[in-house]
């Protein structure tokens, strides 16, 4: 044994061991792109939580007379101009961030849980579970979601939802979640199929591990990678899709405003000489999404033991 021990000892490079989390933290805080992204996210989260910090004007206080049905540019009393109804753009941006970000968070979060769970079950057990999940995915992919959205609209037409932060986004959240989980389910199913046949899963099975343990301890952590890459773009998609729903009357409930609605409104004024109406909300959306992309990538790398040297 001593020979074997000496043979194996001292071959591992590196210094005293630290936990993965501290390692991740150390590597993350040294990267400027990560820091900038984190600052951007924190900025918008604060804006969503306390919009009044950024503007004293109510987004609903619109000076229609001043606007003369024309949007205003920068300067004047409105730092970022107004829209065609004379509403303050800055105020709208600030107050629109809450429903937009909340909606994105709720929709992507719920869809992830649903999609990942179903994909995991389908890929792990196959058989009739897989049949059921896969066919359901296909059905939801085939139904045009605008059609379903309108159906839902008529269903909820007369339901009083209240006026809290969640109530204003309830309808778009339901529609978008209902049609947002299939991608995750497919991705997870595919990578579970690959991961579940690896030897370490077999080893856990040979040790007598339960299905739950195998799924959540061994399969999922190694299968979730490709899915996390979908999240930032999904957030952008949700914020954009909300604008379309708003058109149909099932978006964020007026009088609440959202980035999606602002983008939708602004797009018709781009060529009329008022590009700021589109570019400002779009810029906020892009900044959020890009920051999430950078953060997500960095976090995934930092938490993968293979990539932390």
């Amino acid at each position: 044994m001593s020979e074997a021990a000496s043979a194996a000892a001292g071959n591992v490079a590196g210094t005293a061991s630290r936990t993965l989390a501290t390692d991740a933290w150390r590597s993350l805080r040294r990267r400027p792109d990560v820091i900038i992204s984190a600052v951007i996210i924190v900025f918008f989260v604060v804006m969503a939580a306390f919009p009044t910090l950024f503007t004293a004007v109510s987004p609903r206080h619109c000076v229609i007379g001043d606007a003369k049905t024309r949007p205003q540019g920068f300067g004047n009393q409105f730092p970022l101009g107004t829209d065609s109804f004379g509403c303050d753009t800055l105020a709208q941006l600030a107050h629109g961030s809450r429903p937009s970000l909340l909606l994105a968070l709720v929709v992507v979060g719920t869809a992830l849980v649903i999609g990942v769970t179903l994909g995991l079950l389908a890929g792990y057990y196959l058989g009739w579970v897989d049949f059921l999940v896969s066919r359901t995915v296909e059905v939801f992919l085939v139904i045009p979601y605008l059609l379903a959205a309108m159906l839902l609209l008529s269903l909820f037409k007369n339901v009083e939802l209240g006026s809290g932060a969640f109530a204003t986004i309830m309808l778009p959240a339901i529609v978008l979640t209902l049609f947002g989980w299939m991608g995750y389910a497919r991705y997870v199913r595919a990578s579970v199929l690959e991961a579940k046949n690896l030897d370490y899963v077999t080893a856990a099975r040979a040790l007598g591990a339960s299905d739950l343990r195998i799924m959540f301890r061994h399969v999922l952590p190694n299968a979730i990678g490709p899915v996390t890459a979908l999240v930032p773009t999904a957030i952008a998609g949700v914020i954009g899709a909300e604008a379309v729903l708003a058109f149909l009357g099932i978006g964020v409930r007026p009088p609440a405003i959202s980035w999606g609605i602002m983008i939708e409104n602004g797009s018709s004024w781009v060529l009329g000489g008022y590009p700021h109406m589109l570019l400002l909300p779009l810029g906020c959306l892009l900044a959020t999404v890009l920051a999430l992309v950078v953060l997500g990538d960095a976090l995934r790398d930092a938490l993968d033991p293979r990539l932390t040297a």
Binding site: E3, S6, A7, N11, A13
Partner: protein, 370 residues
């Protein structure tokens, strides 16, 4: 081994000796090398800085002879052949040396010319035939892709040639099988298809990188026999890259043992196995489990060094059982302890003679060990 299946006949060994008579040919200098690699060095750019994967490798491949390049993972055996073929990845760079093919130094050519030259005269067989063949094209299409592109063969001629090639590598029912796809072939048959693809352009030199590692022993024997037959028939030079010393003994004429990017021993295969001149070769041969011993296997302690953290002096010294002070400080020169043999060990003559090198504290009598 079963006596029924094998004869340890001296006569066979002799006939081989006379058939090739390597040392005789070489000393007369009649045999010109088909492929001659001289002092080749390859570096990789990595996140840990520049790493030298191959360092001063030289070898020659002659018509009708088989050169085996033996080494463990990371020894540089595969990288060196990629360099010869101009197939190195973009992160790698040849920093020194020459690769002479029929008188031309390939490394002075542009990458494109290099590849073109190799396509005609040097072909390669890879370990993983399934990965090396394109799953969406028929075997016949892939066999003749180069012929159609370079030689402008017509479809009908190409089909005919594909059948010939499959016949050549003894794939049964070749006429029907050219229309099939790679996944329809078994592992051994796929490797035959790979060999056929390599033979399509009638190469002078065939480089086979672990061609049988993924195969069962019975199929390995088929493929090795096939390679040997084709080689003998066409007087091709064969470079066999492998980690299996049994395969080397079974088919090679010469052997180059690589360790940590360098050739540590080069010799005809019979003397190399009988009287290895480098401690690494000696230890490798001893560590093969065999009929003789049932006790503990003699092992080489530790593991091959990482190219990013190469030991000082002789790269093998931390694992060597005959290490002396000089090994820790000085890189051993290429020693020639006998005609046609090279060993990069300070004590090559001692190792070859089966003597232990003189201890460090012994009084220096009768000159230096070099």
């Amino acid at each position: 081994m079963s006596a029924a299946s094998r004869t340890r006949s001296g006569a066979e060994g002799e006939s081989r000796g006379t058939r090739h008579s390597p040392s005789a040919e070489r000393s007369e200098g009649e045999q010109t090398a088909l492929l001659e690699v001289t002092d080749l060095a390859v570096e990789f750019r990595t996140s840990d800085g520049v790493v030298r994967a191959v360092d001063g490798l030289s070898y020659r491949v002659e018509a009708g002879r088989t050169l085996a390049i033996v080494g463990e993972s990371g020894s540089g055996k595969s990288v060196s052949s990629l360099a010869v073929l101009g197939l190195l990845p973009d992160t790698a760079r040849v920093t020194r040396g020459s690769v002479r093919l029929a008188g031309t130094d390939l490394l002075t050519l542009t990458r494109k010319e290099h590849r073109a030259r190799c396509g005609d005269q040097v072909a390669m067989v890879f370990q993983d035939a399934l990965a090396a063949l394109n799953p969406v094209h028929t075997v016949g299409y892939q066999l003749t892709e180069a012929l159609r592109a370079r030689r402008g063969l017509s479809r009908a001629d190409a089909r005919k040639r594909a059948v010939e090639l499959l016949d050549l590598v003894k794939v049964p029912n070749a006429k029907a099988r050219v229309k099939e796809y790679p996944h329809q072939f078994s592992g051994g048959m796929r490797q035959r298809v790979m060999i056929a693809t390599a033979l399509a352009m009638d190469p002078d030199v065939l480089i086979a990188d672990e061609p049988t590692t993924a195969l069962d022993v019975t199929v390995q024997a088929q493929v090795l026999r096939l390679l040997a037959e084709i080689q003998a028939e066409r007087q091709m030079g064969l470079v066999l890259i492998t980690h299996d010393l049994g395969v080397v003994a079974g088919v090679a004429d010469d052997v180059t043992v690589m360790y940590a990017g360098r050739a540590v021993e080069q010799a005809p295969v019979v003397p190399a196995y009988k009287t290895p001149a480098h401690p690494y070769t000696r230890a490798l041969l001893r560590s093969i489990p065999s009929a003789s011993g049932t006790g503990r296997l003699p092992v080489i302690p530790g593991r091959p060094p990482s190219p990013a953290a190469m030991p000082s002096g002789c790269p093998f010294h931390p694992r060597c059982d005959a290490v002396r002070d000089v090994c820790r400080t000085d890189v051993p020169p290429a020693m020639h302890p006998a005609e046609g043999r090279m060993s990069a060990c300070h004590f090559a003559p001692d190792i070859m003679a089966g003597r232990e090198p003189r201890p460090d504290d012994a009084p220096d009598i009768g000159g230096s060990h070099e």
